[in-house]
Amino acid sequence: MAGPISDNQEHSLRKAVRQFIDAQLQGQEPDIEEFVRQYPEFEDQIRQKVRNLQKIDTLFDSLVQVDEGDFEDTATGCDLVGRKIGHFEIREMIGRGGMGVVYLAHDTKLDRSVAVKSMPAELKSSATAQARFQREAKLLASLSHPNIAVIHEIVEEEESDYLVLEYIPGQTLAEQIAKGPLKLQEALTIALQIAEAVAAAHEHDVIHRDLKPGNIKITPDGRVKVLDFGLAKAVGGEPSEKPTTVTQPGRVMGTPAYMSPEQACGKPTDKRSDVWSFGCVLYEMLSGHPPFESETATEILARIIEREPDWNVLPQDTPNNIRVLLRRCLEKDPHRRLRDIGDAGIEINETLSSPPVTIPLRLRRMTLMIGATFIIVLIGAVLWLTFDNKAQPSSKEIRLVVLPFENLGSAENEYFAAGITDQITSHLAPLRGLSVLSPRTAAQYEKGKKNARQIGEELGVDYILGGTVQREQPSDQTSPVRVMPRLVRASEDRLVLAPIYHIYNEDLNELYQMQSDMAEQVAQVFGIALLEPERRALQSRPTENMEAYEYYLRGNEYFLRSILENDFRIALGMYEKAVKLDPAFALAHAQLSRTHMMMYWHIFDRSEERRAMAKQAVERAFQLNPNLPEAHLALGHYYYHGHLDYDRALEQFAIARKSQPNNSEVLEFVGYVQRRQGKFEEALGNIKRAFELDPLASRLAYQIALTFKLLRKYPEAKRYYDRAISLSPDWHIPYARKANLYLLAEGKTEKARAVLQEGLENTKSTENFEIVDWLVDIDAFDGNYQEALDRLSLKSKDIDNQYYFIPNALRYARIYRYMGNNQKAKEYYEQARDILKSKIDEDPNDARFHSALGIAYAGLGCKEDAIREGLLAEEMLPVRKEAMRGLWRVEELARIYVVVGEYDKAIDQLEDLLPRPGWMSIPYTST
């Protein structure tokens, strides 16, 4: 909807609408599209007004135009009450439906309550209709099931026939749902009974045809009774006699919302229509409203025929198999729909009686096997394609993405599907000639909403690998699993490979054997020999212990996720479990080492012990497998993060890269090391390349932005920050850094503030402390001291990252100093000084503390102490040693000089900084 419009515009709009109405009244039938074209600025408003006009017209119509239905509604109203039909005394009216009025009556012979239904007017006139009705009623009478409302008899009176039915006290399901969606347990219990009732009727070839919540009653003791079986057919007649389309008033089959698509088209109905309606009812019980809803009947029909229901509104705890059941029931093509409602009953019954599915160990093993087996074929295919039937390998590298395999079965298969994806990706990555996009990237493309070409373009890949997993017999645990991978050439959307595999519940060893047999066979088929390194890679399994492998995979998930301490701790836990289960699991040791280093690097645990643990883990990894590329990677990390030993680190990374040329992580870290060395341009190249391999990794976009920023290429930096934000809008760092960018680039706070606000809105308050920090600074810059103080008071943590440590006290001090409140400032500077001194006692080698202490001294006017600390910090961490952190020391020294009044010296420092890539910029210094 366009924004609010001015009075002037309002006036024009109204005039335009008046013209439209006038044209309509003249009978000209104006075309709204043309109208909208004339006044494009009012498009939304015009459409709305015309809609309202139509609504108002309809309302007037309903007042003025009486239709058949009205006569029906009022026809047999209270006529019968007080009368006697046969030996039944009519007591009161209890309902009215499309089938006539229902009364509560008393059976004077058997002294019980019954329901008496009067026949609709139409029937009385047609002899054939009456005969048919009697036939149906007899069929119905033959049904005997606890969940079906019984017909007792038909009473023939002069003016009409009456049906005597079982009286069911209690609410209808419709009334129940009106109070809110049902809990899962309840919904399933009710659905089960409905399914059983309908199944029983189907056995006798009786079709309900009008199953809906209004026709389902629930007695006070929880028993379900389905009403009005088969009557719809009896009353409505065959389609050829009387079209049962909804647009005809009067004889309507109730609301169309539960009609199957074939019913909606006026085609004959059968048992499968009941299955559809059942699906609608189950859906409504769970979600609170029917799957196809709209204002008008025709709209509803259109949706039934054309649209899929919204599956997202089903409650979270809806089990997978029930979701699958619903999909099968609400399948538009009756041939593909669930055929037998009894199956639905069985499925629901199993869900109700069995506990949540825990995946048995055997299945887990199978997952890995499936993955491995398949890879052989894929490699075969890839090599075939690469080699182009000649001996020459083509020089172009093939890029491939492995999309999550789709699970077409029950919940346990979900695991298969996920496992396959992981396995394939990790096995393919090392292969030459193939560049595989990492799993995290792929996870966002679940359920194929985009076509192959789009995915190909977006990710820049040549081939897409996906597929489906399904058990042959869904309910039979022992039946084989069918895996159908599909390899598609993206740019042409062409299916290149689509084999079908049946995986049986075999012993582990036999499966390995099958695997290598297949490898040979496939190689023959494709006419190539698997290259030795590839074959060896296939044979090697990271671990024999599948449980350990599972923990390893989960550890990876957390490790790669973010840089929050908690995620690393969880990853640690996972890897530790993995190595406990299989002490020979080299890969897990390598990852363990890396995680320890992350903890160390990101200041979460900057202790000797932590570093030692990392060393230990990586050494173990090497012991177990001296050639493991991941171990080299881990060792590289150790040298880099642990000791700032750039050369050794790069050495290790180079080795890792040899065997895994397209591993984006290696490239990424090479880039980071180069940055610390001050080789910013080269670093940029490597990180960019990493980003190409993992195009959806927001952290990489962010790192590229950061590098550009250091190079003072602000427009490019901004572009990449924006990219990072669009990839992960709930990550707070890019917002904060982008704000900083505006300050650097322009020295003005307005745009920065806007970005920070945006960041606040999109991120979680428990994580976005850096944004708040920046806002405090900006408020201080702008002179909004009170706001700055207020914001600051909301924070409890000090700023503590790898570049600097700033206790809150220091920040308060600075704000008060700007305000001119020297007393308070002094108090806080003293506080800061004490805090920092004790920190230094704990860890005298942390340069950050010294810099900060220098600033505190400067604030207190202790000039010499201040300068001493500042210089000391710089000495400890000079720029030549560590370009990025070192620069901070220089900046802080400059600050110190400014505060103590040694402006010249400050300028010296700045002049030193400015020509180099760094954090400072000219506009920024003006702040």
Binding site: R18, K55, I56, L63, V66, D73
Partner: protein, 204 residues
């Protein structure tokens, strides 16, 4: 479809004119709620607080039934239009009563001279008006309320012309004759009124 409805109404009217009880009942039940709405739409909010609409409905129906003998069903929709006009008259009467604050003795006398059978069934019919409202109206209850509120706020001249065209179904020429305007002027008035109504309706 409309033909069927019309036939039915004709049929019922004929029956009612002959004294058929249930036909009378049905007519009241089908048309009663509509008369109620028409009256609501005609009355402004102020009036509605002073006059009980249900009373008016009874009033209207009574007059109608009394006068049924004089009614001839010619074209589609005649019955409702006829009722609507009666409603208008009764409304005006009530207004005058309100202002004059005297009781119309003659009216009461007339009431008493009703044939008992008609009265009985009539009362029963009236009782039933609210409880067995035709579903077409029931389902739109809320929206009709909204419309009524919107019409309330409308300028009297707009309201009048809308009722005349939308409820009574008068042609622009007919309306023009009543108001002393050309049919084109009436049409323009209607478009202005409708546009205004839409604006108000949107903001109710």
């Amino acid at each position: 479809m409309r033909l069927t409805v019309d036939d039915r109404t004709r049929h019922l009217v004929a029956l009612a004119q002959d004294g058929g009880e249930s036909a009378l009942n049905q007519l009241c039940k089908v048309y009663g709620p509509r008369v109620l709405w028409i009256i609501r739409l005609r009355m402004g909010a102020e009036l509605r607080s002073k006059l009980e609409s249900m009373d008016l409905v009874q009033d209207v129906l009574m007059s109608a039934l009394k006068d049924l003998g004089n009614f001839t069903y010619e074209t589609e929709g005649d019955f409702l239009r006829w009722l609507s006009r009666i409603a208008e008259n009764r409304l005006r009467n009530q207004l005058q009563r309100l202002h004059a604050n005297k009781r119309d003795i003659r009216k009461e006398v007339q009431l008493n001279s009703y044939r008992p059978t008609v009265e009985d069934s009539f009362v029963a019919a009236l009782d039933a008006v609210d409880t067995t409202t035709p579903s077409a109206i029931m389902s739109k209850r809320e929206e009709l309320d909204k419309l009524a509120k919107a019409i309330d706020v409308l300028k009297p001249e707009y309201r009048q012309v809308i009722v005349m065209t939308k409820i009574e179904g008068l042609s622009y020429k007919e309306i023009g004759e009543r108001l002393g305007k050309s049919s084109e002027a009436v049409r323009k008035l209607v478009s202005r009124a409708l546009e205004e109504l839409i604006s108000i309706f949107e903001n109710v």
